[in-house]
């Protein structure tokens, strides 16, 4: 029922207002005394060398893609699991094929070492 989502919207508003109110109220109370050294990025007490926004390891990107793939896979499993009693054997075989196909990829990336953080 649509209307049962209204409380979630209300909750959202309340949850957003918490940090906003906190930050606004804090502004009246907290000191404000910035100077150059204080505003420097932290690097263990020495001046930072170079910029932080370098390019980082490609592994993070592989992990993210794999995550999206498996996330989509889980999404397919959600309705399947809910409906499982109705689908019975047919559903089981169906999902078996689905997962086996993905297993091929999983074993491939495992063997290729993409899951290894070298």
């Amino acid at each position: 029922m649509l209307v049962s989502y209204v409380p979630i919207i209300i909750f959202l508003v309340v949850a957003i207002s918490l940090p906003v109110v906190g930050l606004a109220a804090g502004r009246l109370l907290r000191p404000f005394n910035p100077f150059k050294e204080k505003l420097m990025p932290y690097e263990c007490g020495v001046d930072p060398e170079g910029d932080a926004r370098e390019r980082y390891s490609v592994r993070y990107y592989i992990i993210a893609i794999l995550f999206v793939v498996f996330d989509v896979e889980t999404i397919f499993l959600f309705p399947w699991a809910v409906l499982y009693r109705k689908l019975a054997l047919f559903g089981f075989i169906e999902m078996l094929i689905f997962i086996l196909i993905l297993m091929v990829g999983y074993i491939y990336i495992w063997k290729k070492g993409a899951l290894e953080w070298v």
Partner: protein
């Protein structure tokens, strides 16, 4: 008019109560953590503020508000400001679907803010948004340690989310519903908590939950002895406290979902055994809270005991142990269920 009362006024009251309890709970969870760990380590923990440090969380909260709020000069001010919010808000609104009591409790309004059709999916989806706050916070700081921490933690969080999702499927196969209220009702009608039906799914869920919330032994993103503070190194004052609150709220979420999915939610132990009906003296929401507290205690206990993993080991465990085990669990559960259909 009726709709306005049922879907706006009553939920609003509940939301205010829940937010109040949650905020207080998080504050006192920090005290509980310090006290329990102190016990484990033969210390006393906070003792100065109030009797046995009972007012410590309030002092901490005040301190967060009156601390100077520093935004590093090279930071992206806009993203830096909203990142903690992106972490915090999802952590809170998950509680709109978690049932604390049966549908007939609280004078018939139901022991939950709202009961939506896809509550479980909603909870999983919304908590997956929190990771964005971590990435953005680390990126916006424009500093090396936070950025490394942010990349680490987001990679960790998404990795464990996958295994966690598969763990939950195991429960769904038994429960056949995405509604958290129905999942608990199902545990009542079946007369058994799903933990006993799906123990492997539970273990996967709980361990992944520890990883999702960046707790030891998976606390690499914040590993203070390696990355100083991880993604929130540059944060101070109130903004830092928002990340902090989000982490503790997530701990409570993980525990609450664990209780709901595997330990019968608001049900008393052995709810089908009439001989134990004297246990009904404790009202259902209280049972829920007690169970959640037990899980929170385990979180703290583990923190006091174990060292932490290294990042590559952590990823290996997530992808090469939890994920295949969870997948196997789904298929084995499916196969076994075929017998009962």
């Amino acid at each position: 008019m009726n709709i306005l009362v049922n879907y706006v006024v009553i939920p609003l009251v509940k939301i205010v109560v829940i937010v109040a309890i949650l905020s207080g709970g998080i504050a006192y969870l920090t005290l509980m953590e310090r006290k329990v760990i102190a016990r484990l380590q033969h210390r006393l923990g906070p003792m100065r503020v109030g009797w046995h440090g009972i007012l410590q969380p309030i002092a901490d909260g005040l301190k967060f508000i009156i601390k100077e709020d520093i935004i590093p000069i090279k930071a992206d001010r806009f993203v830096f400001t909203i990142a903690p919010g992106i972490s915090l808000v999802p952590a809170f609104i998950v509680f709109s679907v978690i049932p604390f009591g049966p549908p007939d409790s609280l004078w018939g309004t139901g022991g939950y803010v709202t009961d939506v059709n896809i509550a479980l999916l909603f909870a999983v989806a919304v908590s997956s948004v929190g990771v964005l706050g971590v990435i953005l916070g680390g990126w916006a700081s424009n500093s090396k340690y936070p950025l490394l921490g942010a990349l680490r933690s987001s990679a960790q969080m998404v990795s464990y989310e996958v295994a966690m999702g598969f763990g939950i499927i195991g429960v769904l196969l038994v429960a056949n519903s995405l509604s958290l209220v129905e999942i608990v009702e199902k545990q009542r009608s079946m007369g058994v908590w799903f933990f006993f039906v799906q123990p492997i799914a539970f273990l996967i869920y709980y361990f992944c939950g520890m990883a999702e919330t960046n707790r030891l032994p998976f606390d690499l993103p914040e590993a203070e002895t390696e990355l100083v503070g991880g993604f929130h190194t540059e944060y101070s004052g109130f903004r830092f406290s928002l990340f902090f609150i989000a982490e503790y709220a997530n701990m409570i979420t993980v525990s609450s979902l664990a209780v709901t999915l595997f330990f019968g939610g608001w049900l008393r132990p052995f709810s089908s055994v009439a001989a134990l009906s004297f246990l009904d003296i404790i009202p259902p929401p209280l049972w829920f809270v007690i169970k959640v507290l037990i899980f929170l205690y385990i979180f703290i206990w583990v923190r006091g005991t174990l060292p932490r993993f290294r990042f590559d080991q952590l990823m290996r465990i997530g992808w090469k142990v939890f994920l295949p085990v969870a997948m196997a669990n789904v298929m084995v559960t499916g196969a076994i269920l075929l017998k009962f259909l």
